[in-house]
Point group: C2
Chain length 253, copies 2
């Protein structure tokens, strides 16, 4: 189980950010393994997107782990919370995939607790995803876990903050055999300081198959984006500001 | 989702240590929720034990989350590594459950990497389990996650060390909405400084149903312990040293 010097696990959700993070990893010259989580909500537009992105960007492996976080609940996105009326359309969205770092999440409303964390926050999601990523990195001898977290356009999620990612790096160092051996997987968030427009520009430069990524919280059964939710609007603005053609299929526009 | 001042999530594996940790939690006057992980290896003596312990010690809820870590691999216990010849009997044991904190793990052999981490180490296991525990704590408004980790008799597991648990506490503070609100679940390891004999004595005092706990890595289909593996020997010595009757059903003794 020797660490390859240039092998990374990328948390891949099917969203735009994690796809750009994967392309960044590849551009750095690293072989990469994709890790996605199947939250058990049945056929998933996001997982399909993740599979396409993994294939198109040449993942050496794509592991899809089943983990039904709906049983945990505690979020509007896991079907136990109430999605407020200003949400685009109301239906159980299931939990969003890993690696998007909440960056594409729509800020549906403020929570009722006096802070500005969106109700779409899923308890400890990035902690769980990074833990699984570190496990896979250790098992495969990879030396980094890459997450698409970014906090510029939306900073409401605690587990997208640099200080959280630094704290998790310490956990990866102390809680793994790899860490004891001085080769703990690094936690990398290459998009952490980028705006959505900068992410689009970077992805365009790196050949990200944007048409195969899904940002919308409420895609129709054909996978077309609603075009109206915050996540869609954020994505559209990103493409517009970056001056990049937006290949997203919108159900209405 | 207001935090109850006295509600804890206990990572419950079916082993002795996590059962004692649960009894400790109850004795502190806390309502408690049990969290176990079903690693997908089919009928599980450990999960059955966890269910009995949860019932007997009055868990308010017992959530069993399915997560197939065999797909990740990287451990003798997950069926991808090689269990060495000095192991009791060789067969796929599946991954052990949460909360035992590796404390009952048998030190089958040294790993080949020059450190003394057992081959039964499962990549990032306690990181994953604590992440799930924090998610459940946050979703249920609990203010602590209790793990049966202990490092006195066996200190080879990096993710049983106090410094790891402290680092994870920081992650729970920074990576959760609860943390932002100043009520991050505390990470509690009440057995961290106890020997196996002290754990037995504590459990005896607190009414732990030891007969319903499973320490053996290789129980027979009736759930009887082999009596010979390191984990069995450690358990037996603990009972003997503590002067407590050992109700374990052994297949051979």
């Amino acid at each position: 189980m020797t660490a390859s010097p240039r092998r990374s696990v990328v948390l891949l959700s099917g969203g735009m950010d994690s796809a750009v993070a994967a392309a960044w990893t590849r551009a750095e010259g690293n072989a990469w393994l994709a890790l996605s989580v199947d939250y058990g909500q049945g056929p998933s537009v996001e997982l399909d997107a993740a599979r396409r992105v993994a294939r198109e960007l040449g993942a050496a492996e794509h592991l899809v782990l089943a983990l039904d976080l709906r049983a945990v609940g505690g979020s509007a996105l896991t079907g136990t919370g109430e999605i407020p009326k200003n949400a685009p359309r109301k239906r159980d969205q299931g939990v969003r995939g890993p690696g998007q770092g909440h960056g594409e999440a729509e800020r549906l409303s403020k929570s009722g607790t006096g802070n500005d964390i969106p109700v779409t926050y899923v308890p400890a999601r990035n902690t769980i995803l990074l833990a699984l990523g570190v496990a896979l990195a250790e098992a495969r001898g990879a030396n980094a876990v890459v997450i698409g977290a970014n906090a510029v356009d939306y900073s409401g999620y605690p587990d997208c903050r640099p200080e959280f990612l630094r704290a998790f790096s310490k956990v990866a160092e102390l809680g793994t055999k790899a860490g004891v051996e001085g080769r703990a997987p690094a936690i990398l968030a290459p998009l952490i300081d980028l705006s959505k427009a900068e992410i689009v520009a970077l992805g365009e430069r790196l050949g990200v198959p944007f048409a195969n990524t899904v940002s919308c919280y409420d895609p129709d059964p054909e996978g077309r984006a609603c075009g109206q939710c915050e996540s869609c609007r954020l994505r559209r603005r990103g493409f517009a500001k970056a001056g990049v053609f937006d290949p997203t299929r919108y159900a209405r526009s």
